[in-house]
């Protein structure tokens, strides 16, 4: 038990700072992914001339492994576009890039599932296309897509373990640093694995709760 105190409990500040970095990376990545995902989805659905390019981009984001994307964004983008200039930015950008591809398809499925009659009713009530989208289509689509959106957030948290590879000091990075200092992997790696499992479990339970409450309150498109 001495080892647990010495290697895990006494390192709690380092581990907590790692969790804070993990939380930051995931939160920024998720926010960016939702916005970019919605943008990609709209371009794909409504910007006809751009459609083939957008489809290729979405498929590329979805079909490349996250580690590959992370290294690609971290080492190729700065030379190509002059940005991201820090590994922290590269970390959230790579996570956001991948999730935006998935979210774009989630949004598209949700938007396409909205009955056509709703849109027609809104138009016949004199709403502009922008109003129809913001007031009729988007709220319902977001609601029916909310479980998948929550699920995507847990995917981001799981993938965020990889940002330690490009030396972003997240929980995984700190835990491996402790292993390299003491050469005692059992306690700290087990504790880290348990922390991640609890973290992901909590995030998905909380997200499920929020999306259930929202769906019950607004009680539309329960399917």
């Amino acid at each position: 038990m001495g080892n647990w105190k010495h290697l895990v409990w006494d390192q709690r500040e380092v581990l907590l700072s790692g969790i804070a970095v993990t939380a930051q990376v995931c939160a920024i990545a998720f926010a960016v992914a939702v916005v970019v995902g919605l943008l990609l989805c709209l371009l794909r659905m409504y910007a006809r001339p751009l459609r083939p390019i957008v489809i290729v981009v979405i498929e590329f984001f979805r079909a490349t492994p996250i580690l590959v994307q992370l290294l690609w964004v971290a080492y190729v983008w700065p030379a190509l576009f002059g940005w991201p200039n820090t590994f922290f930015a590269a970390a959230w950008l790579a996570l956001a890039v991948q999730s935006s591809g998935y979210l774009a398809e989630t949004f598209r499925g949700a938007i396409e599932a909205i009955p056509k009659g709703q849109r027609e009713a809104a138009y016949s009530a004199g709403m502009s296309p922008v109003q129809v989208f913001w007031r009729i289509v988007l709220p319902q689509a977001a609601l029916s897509a909310s479980p998948s959106i929550v699920n995507q957030f847990t995917v981001i948290v799981k993938s965020s373990t990889l940002v330690s590879v490009i030396t972003v000091p997240d929980l995984m990075y700190q835990s491996q640093k402790i292993v390299n200092i003491w050469y005692e992997p059992i306690e700290i790696l087990t504790a880290t694995a348990a922390l991640y499992i609890v973290l992901v479990f909590a995030v998905s339970a909380a997200g499920k709760h929020v999306s259930d409450v929202l769906r019950r309150r607004y009680a539309i498109t329960a399917a």
Partner: protein, 233 residues
């Protein structure tokens, strides 16, 4: 900008190393195949626990699913590689070390067994109870009912979802490069360190995975649709 753009898409360097890289991609496929077998086996076991009559077994099955579905692949692979051999070594009182390939197969297999368990369970619970009763009334043993009536239908029902999981598993095999399994990503990283030219190599790797995964997922999806259609017809 144009200089680096040119360099990024000048995949000559990537082509020069094609032999090593193809060997690396083959390693990705080996890890994938072995981990898929482990994941399917353990996943089926966990699913059977979850539909067991005894609450203890159901509880164990749920625990398995919740742990491995919520565990990030990277930490699981690292944990299996660095911690599991030590723990097993204490048990049998010898020094044990896993080769990185074995660790990756076990780690990825465990994580995906959680996902497959849920897919199997959904498939099992979807079987009409009348099928099982009909088997019983014909005097089939419980084992014969499972292997000849339940499992074949479960496998067909879970095809579309398992295609997605196989694709995720294949993508996750890139992680094994981090514990020095010589897969495509590992080779790319090594060559980058020699040549100091990350642009063409990482771009090439990303494009290679993109093409392989897109092709594999389209083919698998088409095949699974056709197989289902044929069997239900």
């Amino acid at each position: 900008m144009s200089e680096s753009l040119h360099q990024a898409f000048d995949l000559g360097l990537f082509w020069e190393y094609r032999k090593v890289l193809i060997a690396g991609l083959a390693v990705n496929f080996y890890v994938f195949a072995a981990a898929a077998v482990v994941a399917l086996g353990i996943g089926l076991g966990a699913a059977l626990l979850r539909v067991n009559r005894l609450p203890v077994f159901r509880w164990l099955g749920t625990l398995h699913v919740e742990i491995f579905r919520n565990a990030p692949e990277y930490i699981m692979v690292v944990w299996v590689h660095f911690v599991l051999p030590l723990l097993l070594g204490y048990l049998i009182r010898t020094r044990l070390e896993f080769n990185p390939f074995v660790s990756s197969v076990i780690g990825l297999g465990l994580v995906y067994s959680g996902y497959f368990a849920e897919t199997f369970r959904a498939g099992i619970e979807n079987i009409p109870i009348a099928h099982i009763e009909a088997g019983r009334s014909l005097g089939m043993s419980e084992r014969a009912i499972f292997w000849r009536i339940v499992l074949p239908q479960v496998v067909r029902r879970m095809l579309p979802e398992s295609v997605n999981q196989f694709i995720s598993l294949f993508k996750a095999t890139t992680i094994v490069s981090l514990i020095a399994v010589p897969d495509l990503m590992y080779d790319v990283t090594m060559i980058t360190q020699q040549e100091m030219r990350p642009l063409p190599l990482y771009t090439g790797a990303a494009l290679t995975y993109f093409v392989v995964i897109l092709a594999a997922s389209s083919v698998l999806r088409a095949l699974s649709e056709r197989w289902r259609a044929k069997i239900y017809a």
